[in-house]
């Protein structure tokens, strides 16, 4: 049993080790052969290998000591564009030794930057493009401003297919000596929805908790990891229990640090999957949009989300009345 997170232990080191995403890997390999990399945008959902691809590219480009030639920044962590600009300035001041003439800057969660920050980033990218190339990583490329997009080679990552994930699970179970049942594998695939990070986290947790990884164990682990999930919160509200729903909301934001905008996005996704009349789905979507807009304008997350939960309570009540 390994003593690190498996997401790291089994993170591919070279482009050759990456499973799936063949087309992307082929393009990246051509960059390595040419010893030249344009600015890139890696866009796609979480756990699909964006950061991994960037690190593997760097490895293949610079060799074992690639860490000396790259810099990883996370736009959500670094406070403001000024920090990023200063870091880039120092980092890009010197040329690397060897036949690659530039350093690589990997900027994760770039879609969390404001438009103003992105404008500043664009200027920085232009200014230092001799000595530094940028790989911007984002969930939604649409949130990257047009002038940056037009200067970058786009790469679109997609969720991994179930077979690729099953293969990865089996490979790791073999290496780690983990007993896993077929339904266990299916359960993990089902719950992780094509997100490889989530897949490995669930697998590692289940494997360290029980002897054999079964579907039951997998569901128990995931249930514990997400004690109050958003769907459950919505169902509680629809059933008329506002106070419990609000407590679940508090748990999500306080204990699990979920941001209001994340919750909103997920609620919106769930609304259309709920078993309620379509007219109500539209009505709720309208209010969800309103709440999202208010949050952007600086309203209080919990108060606004509670108002939304109260709307769900009302929706549940009206539906019951209509059914009678």
């Amino acid at each position: 049993m390994g003593y690190e997170m498996w997401t790291e232990k089994y993170r591919p080191r070279t482009l050759d080790e990456i499973v799936d995403q063949e087309e992307i890997v082929a393009r990246l390999k051509s960059f390595v052969r040419a010893k030249n990399v344009p600015h890139c945008i890696f866009a796609g959902p979480p756990g699909t290998g964006k950061t991994t691809a960037a690190l593997c590219l760097a490895h293949d480009l610079y060799g074992e000591n690639y860490r000396e030639y790259i810099m990883e920044l996370n736009a959500s962590d670094e406070r403001g564009i000024n920090v990023i600009r200063e870091t880039v300035k120092t980092f890009a001041r010197t040329k690397p030794i060897g036949d690659v003439t530039f350093k690589l800057l990997i900027l994760d969660e770039a879609d969390n930057m404001t438009d103003d920050a992105q404008q500043a980033l664009r200027r920085t990218m232009e200014r230092y493009s001799e000595t530094a190339r940028f790989i911007l990583i984002a969930n939604y490329s649409g949130k990257i401003i047009e002038p940056i997009q037009s200067r970058c080679a786009p790469f679109r990552f997609t969720y991994l297919p179930a077979e690729a994930i099953a293969k990865r699970i089996k490979y790791i179970c073999e290496r780690e000596d983990v007993d896993i049942t077929e339904d266990g594998i299916e359960a993990i695939i089902d719950l992780s929805g094509g997100d490889l990070r989530k897949t490995l986290n669930i697998l590692q947790t289940a494997a360290s908790v029980g002897k054999t990884v079964t579907a039951d164990l997998v569901y128990a682990v995931v249930g514990k990891a997400n004690p109050a999930d958003i769907r459950e919160m919505m169902l509680t509200a629809l059933n008329g229990d506002f106070i419990s729903a609000r407590n679940k909301l508090r748990e999500l934001t306080r204990k699990y640090g979920l941001a209001g905008t994340d919750i909103i996005r997920q609620i919106h996704g769930e609304v259309f999957r709920l078993n309620i009349p379509d007219a109500w789905k539209v009505k709720l979507a309208d209010f969800i949009g309103e709440v999202d807009y208010r949050l952007v304008r600086g309203a209080t997350e919990e108060v606004q989300l509670s108002a939304l939960l109260a709307k769900l309570v009302e929706a549940g009540y009206e539906m019951k009345k209509g059914a009678k």
Binding site: P46, A75, S76, D77, E109, S208
Partner: protein, 412 residues
């Protein structure tokens, strides 16, 4: 330490002259100009309408002004406005003749907000009458000049707004009082009291007296507990006035009785809505009113423009009250706001969580916030169920023992 203990400091340190009034320079200038215009005959606007939040010195300004100009104040309050007859008796004669002793007179209607409902329209009409015909200066004082009922008054009056005082202004005044009382006070302690007052100098002075009287030194520790102070009974009455209000204006006036600032009162209302308002459409409407008040709260914070406060108050009091039938279903106790309890209890926890997220994120190529959501829950389960492995992983992630015990304390 000087002074007999029983005089409220609001009285003891009441400004005697306009120059002693803190802040609101513009308003004071406007008032003085208007008073001076009376020397040249009856001005176009015979009345002044001073409005602004409680405790910013509206009445004190008028009193100080009369003192400076050596004029007699003919003053009355809400109790007089009930009937037309009362108003005439009070102001009718006074507004037509000078004072017996040759001093000039100022007629003051304080707490004009106190006029309630249609029963008082006679009183309001009588006030309008007095203003139209007065030969001496008339001053009206209220919290909110833009109440629709006052529309006919506004045209007749010169409007003067009093704004909330800044924390610095309030703190500076508190420091002056401490100096006079021989109290050595930390600046931080005074700023804390000032901040809590949200620009209401009267409540700030009363708080200071409660905390500092009899001491020779006032530290931050002496005052910080104030935040947790829980004047339950008082706040309960205020909440009852709001939730079960008979009229919109009585719901609104509850704010003035609250011993807590508007933000805190908002939290109390937010916490307690679902325990009192159970009918789903009514609950949704009440929460909606509160959520709208919250939008204006955001606007106020962003712009610093306190005029948004009136909408905040309208929506969080009258807006909530008139979202529902206001029929009590048995005795329902009020609950302390959870948001306040948790927010203050867990500032350290949040910092700890943030640092854990950062360390995990560093190893796993994630931002702190995503590490907290995507990795930490699994690490927690491993730590709880397989401590040996969990602790090794934690070490690999560079988490301290303290962080590990914190993670273990998070319930699942």
């Amino acid at each position: 330490m000087s002074s007999s203990p029983y005089i409220p400091w609001t009285l003891k340190y009441k400004p005697r002259s306009l120059s002693e009034i803190i802040g609101n320079e513009e308003a004071k200038k406007k008032i003085l100009e208007w008073m001076n215009s009376w020397k040249k005959g009856i001005p176009e606007k015979r009345a002044l309408f001073i409005y602004g939040p409680p405790g910013v010195g509206k009445t004190a300004t008028v009193e100080a002004l009369a003192n400076d100009l050596n004029m007699e104040l003919v003053m009355t309050d809400a109790s007089t406005y009930r009937t037309e007859e009362n108003v005439r008796r009070f102001a009718g004669r006074a507004s037509q003749y000078g004072s017996l002793f040759g001093r000039g007179k100022i007629i003051v209607f304080d707490e004009v907000d106190g006029i309630t409902g249609s029963a008082d329209t006679g009183g309001l009409a009588a006030i309008i009458d007095v203003i139209k015909n007065t030969r001496v200066p008339v001053i009206l004082i209220a919290n909110d000049a833009y109440d629709p009922r006052f529309a006919p008054l506004r045209n007749l009056c010169l409007l003067v707004e009093f704004k909330r005082l800044s924390v610095t202004e309030v703190a500076r005044h508190l420091a002056r009082i401490c100096a006079r009382e021989g109290i050595v006070a930390d600046e931080k302690a005074l700023r804390f009291i000032a901040e809590r007052s949200s620009g209401d100098i009267r409540s700030a002075i009363l708080d200071l007296q409660a905390l500092a009287q009899g001491r020779s030194r006032l530290t931050y520790e002496d005052v910080s507990w104030l935040a947790a102070r829980d004047r339950k009974e008082e706040i309960f009455n205020v909440l009852r006035m709001i939730f079960y209000a008979k009229s919109a204006s009585s719901a609104k006036s509850a704010v003035n009785m609250a011993d807590v600032d508007v933000d805190m009162l908002f939290e109390w209302i937010y916490e307690n809505i679902p325990y009192h308002i159970k009918n789903p459409p009514e609950l949704a409407a009440a929460m909606d009113a509160l959520a709208k008040a919250d939008i204006y709260r955001g606007a106020l914070k962003e712009t610093g423009d306190w005029s948004f406060l009136r909408y905040i108050i309208d929506l969080m009091t009258a807006g909530v009250a008139f979202s529902w039938s206001r029929k009590a279903s048995g005795w329902v106790p009020f609950k302390f706001p959870e948001r306040i309890k948790i927010a203050s209890a867990t500032k350290e926890e949040r910092e700890m969580l943030e640092e854990i997220g950062k360390r995990i994120g560093k190893k796993c190529h994630l931002s702190s916030s995503r590490a907290i959501v995507e990795v930490l829950p699994y690490l927690r389960i491993i730590l709880q169920n397989n401590p040996k492995v969990g602790k090794r992983i934690a070490r690999w992630l560079n988490l301290t023992d303290e962080m590990v015990s914190y993670i273990l304390s998070m319930s699942g």
